[in-house]
């Protein structure tokens, strides 16, 4: 597990000093995180990294997990899909059961925190405990909230509005709520297996393992096999460019083997790629972070041609490695890329091919984009910025006004 001092060479002493200064102001306050799972999934991954770092800074951060059975989690899965805009049938019995499990958990949890920090919709109704025990309550939404189903949104709103504050990942997720809403984008950890520096030999050996030639340009898209990531469109882009530049294409990603749609997409991608030895379709098992890191670092240009995206942190991962990135202007991607400064934003397949050709032919320009991109990620999307935002969020609960002197 990384220590706070390990980030010093990356972000500099000013940033680390600032974290300690802010943490000092929270002395004596307990921050109690509550979510629905201790392992697996993005939220657990973030908390696993964040909580030890907050503690090292001197913040008394704690973490509790709610209990639920299969029935509860099948309902929360439906809620999750509906928030993503999918047409899900959620019955009033489902909602009643959802509340029953939340209220049961509320009776069992020891609410030791001065700040109760609830993550995602599963435990949202714990807030009903607020009128009994008081304290500061914050709801952190990690879900893409662009087009939630109205019915489920209205249901959740009844609970969200009981909190002191709600936190979202992108401006586009802002809702019409009566409580203050804070913007805290997600982050990447520069010291994780997926993002840490790698010796050239490891990068080379992983490229070799997958039969990728190091001497010719490598164009890569890392994402799970999903229509929304448009892997077939990426192959078309490659074919348009291949006429002019002798490049290779890498489509690598994981996916749940029990996801029938993912397997179907993988098969379609494989058959679209058949017969071209320069297209490498790589299905990665879970825990392939090192391979992803090496493939990104070994690439000449990285694509993220998604049709829809939540935040799209694979873009930040690629930019952190100072790679030139061409990505669709969807979801949180425009927050990570400023067109022609720190990468390229495109809207069409043709546009993607046009810019890909340009970046492959103009390595100096491509390099500049990559370096600017890395700087942007360093300043705005590393875990240290995320920690600072959380500290500010906690402090903000105790102050009023636009300017606060600490």
């Amino acid at each position: 597990m990384s220590e706070i001092k390990d980030y010093l060479p990356i972000v500099g002493p000013g940033v680390i000093d600032e974290l300690y200064l802010l943490a000092e102001k929270l002395k004596g306050k307990i921050v109690q995180n509550i979510n629905s799972t201790a392992v697996g999934g993005g939220v657990a991954e973030i908390l696993t990294r964040m909580i030890p770092l907050l503690r090292q800074l001197g913040v008394d951060a704690r973490w509790d997990v709610i209990k639920g059975n299969e029935k509860f989690f099948s309902i929360t899965k439906k809620i999750h899909n509906a928030l993503h805009g999918r047409d899900e049938e959620i019955t009033s019995q489902d909602l009643e059961y959802f509340l029953e499990v939340n209220h049961k958990n509320a009776q069992e949890i020891d609410f030791s925190g001065d700040i109760v920090f609830i993550h995602d919709p599963q435990p949202v109704a714990l807030v009903d405990k607020k009128k009994e025990i008081g304290k500061k309550w914050v709801w952190r939404c990690h879900v893409d909230f662009t087009e939630p189903q109205t019915k489920i949104m209205n249901f959740l709103k009844l609970y969200i509005e009981k909190y002191d504050c709600a936190v979202f990942s992108a401006p586009v997720f802002a809702r019409d709520l009566t409580i203050p809403q804070v913007l805290i984008p997600p982050s990447i950890d520069p010291l994780s297996e997926k993002n840490k520096e790698l010796p050239q030999e490891i990068i080379d050996s992983i490229l070799e393992k997958f039969g990728i030639e190091k001497k010719r340009p490598i164009v890569t898209q890392i994402s799970r096999f999903d229509y929304l990531k448009d892997p077939l469109g990426v192959i078309e882009v490659y074919r348009k460019v291949k006429k002019y530049v002798d490049c290779q294409l890498v489509l690598a990603g994981g996916g749940a083997t029990d996801d029938p749609e993912g397997m179907k997409v993988l098969e379609e991608v494989k058959s679209a790629a058949a017969g071209d030895p320069d297209i490498h379709v790589i299905f990665l098992p879970p825990a392939s972070d090192l391979e992803i890191n090496a493939l990104q670092r070994g690439s000449t240009v990285i694509l993220q041609k998604s049709l829809k995206e939540g935040f799209g942190l694979t873009v930040a991962e690629a930019l952190w490695k100072a790679k030139p990135v061409i990505a669709s202007a969807v979801g949180g991607i425009p927050l990570q890329i400023t067109h022609k400064y720190s990468g390229i934003l495109t809207y069409t397949l043709e546009g993607t091919a046009y810019y890909l050709k340009q970046l492959l032919n103009e390595p100096e320009y491509a390099k500049k984009l990559g370096l600017n991109g890395r700087e942007h990620i360093k300043n705005n999307f590393l875990i240290t910025r995320h920690l600072r935002d959380y500290l500010l969020l906690f402090l903000s609960l105790y102050y009023e006004g636009d300017i606060i002197y600490l």
Binding site: D17, L22, A174, V330, N372
Partner: protein, 213 residues
């Protein structure tokens, strides 16, 4: 006149979302009128702080949106060219944007709409100000500290002080006048911090102060 030591501070922003958005220039005008001052501040200074390494002349968010989401290049340029440094406070800056947009809208242009997903979302910020461990008792120490303070601290003393806190000048020039460095203060006050990167600004300040140490 203050002649004590110079205490270096730093500042951090927590970004707030306002549930206020615009899809047309008309809605942008309404939003600019309605939004709190901290929102106008955020949208005119965010680009500077987030992209300070990129471009010496960062556009504000309004200019960027008008040019890129609505494709109104002329109006976008009018917004980008607003000379932010001339304005003593955010309210005056807001009035300037209102007058540009009102003039544009009264000229009877065809309606334009931002594509779906590219609406302008009004944001605002809460600014936290806190002391750092650096204190300068004289010009020599001032010079030493300037080279190692964070960019946030530099930003605070140059931009926050002057505009958001409605001071006539920045904290450095104010202190320098107090300790009798009138000529140096005068030279620093002629810098236009909005037309250089923060790192470039730091180097410029260092090179000017060096002449007086």
């Amino acid at each position: 006149m203050n002649s004590g030591p110079f205490y270096f501070y730093t500042r951090c922003h927590l970004v707030r979302m306002l549930s206020l958005k615009a899809t047309t220039p008309e809605e942008l005008l309404e939003g600019i009128k309605k939004a709190p001052l901290s929102s106008i501040y955020y949208h005119t200074h965010r680009f500077l702080q987030q992209h300070h390494y990129l471009s010496p002349e960062p556009p504000n968010d309004f200019a960027f949106w008008l040019s890129n989401a609505l494709n109104l290049k002329e109006l976008g340029e009018a917004f980008a060219s607003v000379d932010t440094v001339r304005f003593k406070n955010i309210e005056e800056l807001r009035s300037k944007f209102i007058s540009i947009l009102s003039a544009y809208l009264s000229s009877g242009r065809p309606p334009v709409y931002a594509p779906r997903g590219m609406e302008f979302h009004f944001l605002a910020c809460t600014t936290f100000i806190l002391p750092t461990r650096y204190v300068a008792h004289n010009l020599k120490e001032f010079l030493e500290i300037i080279s190692k303070i964070s960019i946030d601290s530099l930003y605070f003393h140059i931009f926050e002080a002057k505009m958001r806190l409605e001071k006539e000048e920045n904290d450095f020039t104010y202190w320098l006048r107090g300790v009798g460095e009138e000529k140096l203060a005068e030279e620093l006050s002629r810098l236009d911090p909005y037309t250089m990167t923060l790192e470039g600004l730091r180097q410029k300040i260092i090179s000017i102060v060096k002449k007086y140490v």
